[in-house]
Amino acid sequence: MPPVDSPLAACLALLAGWALVGVAGLLRPASITFVGRVLFPLGAVLGLGLAIVALSALGGPVERATLAVGLPDLPMHVRLDPLSCVFLALLGGASVGVSLFASGYFRKGEGTAPGLMGLQYHLFLASMGFVLLADDAYAFMVAWETMALTSYFLVTTQHGIPEIRSAGFLYLLMAHLGAIAILLSFGILQGGTWLFSFDAMRASTLTTPWATAAFVLALVGFGAKAGLVPLHVWLPEAHPAAPSPVSALMSGIMLKTAIYGVLRVTFDLIGDPLWWWGLIPLGLGLATAVFGVVFAAVQTDMKRLLAYSSVENMGVLFTGIGLAIVFHGVGMNELAALALVAVLYHSLNHAFMKSLLFLGTGAVLHATGERNLGRLGGLIHRMPWVGWLTLVGVLAIAGLPPLNGFVSEWLLLQAFLFSHEVPKPFVNMLLPLGAAVVALAAALAGYVMVKFFGIVFLGQPREPSLAQAHDAGGFEKAGLAWLAGGCVLLGLLPNQVIAALGTATTQLIDVAPASAGQSWWLLTPLPERAVSYAPLVLLAVIAGVIAATFLTVRLVYRRPVRRAPPWDCGFARLDPRMQDTAEGFGQPIRHIFGTFFEMERELPSPLDAAPRYRVVVGDRFWKALYAPIAALVQRAANSVAWLQQGRISVYLTYSFITLVVLLAVML
């Protein structure tokens, strides 16, 4: 056991605290007041504690301990190093906002009892924390599976609905396929020592083919969790099916455990990845980024839209990881550190931005009962708090300066800018083109976010029932405000964030990004190259100009403002249904990226008395990849089904034959 006053012990105690808070919910499982007003805020406090402990332990020494639990001869190892600290801080920090929001979120009669929900929720949090602390394959897999199972139960909270049941099944299936790949990867990594602690894996040396196999298996396993194309199909089904705080946890935080896993295996357990491995996550990441954002643009369900946007962001993260591996492999460690910092920074950003947006949709869902973008609109008037706080997340994820999404994008683009210096022919010409893809994905993300915010919060209400929508309660506002504040701070203080993240890159590749500690306001990631960015100055200049303009206009032209109905172009029967729908806003994307989609359209004829327009956009991967595999599995299952005769005598014969064969082998 670790010493009582060490950060590692504090982390373990906080995780145990989460588990206890969850169990406490079983005392009064039906009481919304007890679970919502006591347990969830307590969970938020524990999250804050975890973030503080993790941040304070960042610069400290690596701590390790062996726990007195586990199998005989196979106790669980835990370890707190800078990489875990960074992700624990992410988990703690983002979960504060989500838990605060959840305190006010759950209502009576929504599927699972609140106490049970609280148990699953807090166990989910604790298991994610344990994934980050685990220091042997056994502990890691136990935590990983607990994470998958608790989130499965959370996804199927409203299990009465068949779509949600099938989304949950798909999620569970993909989670386990991923887990098998991770397990096999660990199996290779132990390198014949049969010791499954991470220390043994660090010490073992693998031949190139085996190391490559371990890397690829890890990429498949963690990629399935991250929604890397073509393993993404479960993500847009499962994330929207869950209640919004759970969607926020899954998209905001759980996906980051996959990033953690890839970084841990590649840079820590394998140790020195070959440069060309990086091309695999780079290519897959770029494909995922464009694929995700294009699909996000055509969605009509607000939570599915956000889920596809998560796919895009995971693509960007894997792109960064790939770039870091390439740079590290060819010995350009300074640039590798830059790419790695961009990855860690973007993980942190995405945790805050995407949680904020999912919680915003949760508030909208509660206020209106609608997820369909086509039935929303004008909510900024009825729900100003939710609207304006969500706007912060929208601007951040669209990558606009001076918010946080821009910083990580900027760092990644800077890393790409120097990728032509990689001393490998052809590759050095193709790598910078990746920047074009990243830029395209980022610009499309802006399109998606304008669509999301504009259709949900702006314009006129598309349904009369929206007039009854009410703003979120106190806890919900606090949760949203915490996450929005995080987005702003992460955007304005990049040097402080990078200094913290630098400890993790030092651990992984022995180089810290140079910007750390130079100046508190000017970001200069590569000192000998003249690139810099100062968000505070930028903000001050923009705010100054806006204020000066506003005051001048106000002082000089004090004409009154009159309100009048909007201009109807002389057509006096404008109504809210003439606004763009979600389908309408997605039309240019469907038009331009037509080959991406499996489209089904019903167009009305000009003579129709009741014209109907319907378009269904599907994912080509279903038909091209998953349907054949499913059919193959079905056929294989059918072909062995004759074994199952349903007569006890036949089964006894099987046992007899098996025993005879075994005896024959043994003797």
Partner: protein, 316 residues
């Protein structure tokens, strides 16, 4: 940072604010001459802005605060962008705060806020304009970024003033990659500033408009700010073009007041020629159908990427 640098910075922003409507007037006048029309006064944009500032503002009944805020944000972003672009001198104190990628971000802020404001009222044309603006934007933005990338690769920095400075001091050689990107840049400039062939600044034919559709609900001072911001955007784009493709004439680095004095007529000459060039392009091309606009933008993006490839292949 010297006093001259601050003076350059100050003069540049001031020049952008003051000259942007004039540049717009000049382009319009050139276009009129080329089309055998009598040109309006060069000062017409100033009159328009002044007139609008003096009117009562009318706002739609269901406008949210975002709608009233947007003109100030758009204007603020454009002025901040003008502060990063080396139109007169490259020794700008502000250049370390925002590089060319941040500049693209500033332009994106303006675009996003303008689109959101257009969606705020909830009329058919507003949302239509917002959608089309974002459609043009999502292809134009990466194209612009790639154009800047090529210049950055040549000059090993992303700070626009430094790019311009390093390009200016090099021997005047013809970079094939810059030639490709110059074509791409011209296309992006036309699309982003709502010029023919993507949009028509003179149109009020509802079905084809993009930029004007977003402004339909604005009036008085809000409209004045939006129009001024649009003029500033055209001016900014022109100056980005000068910084990348004709960097000569601007005062370099810490050069003295004399160089700054020289740079002012140089900027004027460049603007005058750019205006004629723009008007010529607009006169000889026809407005594209809206559905063809993405192809135009995709071509620009491909040209920019081609420029990047050419640079990597030839090293020039």
């Amino acid at each position: 940072v010297s006093a001259t640098a601050w003076l350059t910075q100050f003069l540049e922003v001031l020049a952008a604010l003051a000259l942007a409507p004039l540049f717009l007037g000049w382009v319009n006048a050139c276009r009129a001459w080329l089309q055998n029309r009598r040109a309006p006064s060069l000062l017409l944009p100033y009159h328009g802005i002044r007139k609008l500032f003096h009117k009562d503002a009318v706002i739609a009944t269901n406008a949210s605060p975002l709608f009233r805020m947007a003109p100030y944000v758009v204007f603020g972003a454009m002025v901040a962008a003008a502060a990063v672009i080396p139109s007169m001198g490259t020794g700008l104190p502000f250049r370390s705060a925002a590089d060319a990628i941040a500049l693209v971000g500033l332009l994106a802020i303006a675009r996003v806020f303008m689109s959101l404001a257009a969606m705020d009222i909830g009329t058919a044309f507003g949302t239509l304009g917002a959608r089309r603006e974002m459609m043009v934007g999502f292809l134009a933005e990466p194209a612009l970024l790639m154009i800047i990338f090529v210049a950055s690769l040549i000059s090993a920095t992303t700070a626009l003033p430094l790019i311009s400075e390093r390009l200016a001091v090099q021997a005047p050689a013809l970079y094939p990659s810059l030639a490709f990107t110059a074509v791409a840049f011209t296309m992006v400039l036309l699309a982003e500033n709502a010029r023919i062939p993507v949009d028509n600044p003179a149109t009020h034919l509802e079905l084809t408009m993009i930029h004007e559709a977003m402004l339909l609900e604005y009036s008085a001072r809000h409209l004045a700010l939006m129009e001024w911001a649009a003029a500033l955007k055209l001016f900014n784009y022109a100056c980005i073009g000068f910084a990348l493709f004709v960097p000569w004439g601007a005062s370099l680095g810490e050069a003295g007041v004399l160089a700054l004095a020289v740079s002012i007529p140089a900027l004027g000459a460049k603007l005058a020629i750019a205006g004629v060039w723009l008007a010529l392009l607009e006169t000889v091309s026809a407005k594209l159908r809206v559905f063809r606009a993405p192809e135009f933008m995709a071509t620009a993006f491909m040209f920019a990427v081609l420029g990047l490839l050419v640079h990597l292949l030839l090293g020039a």
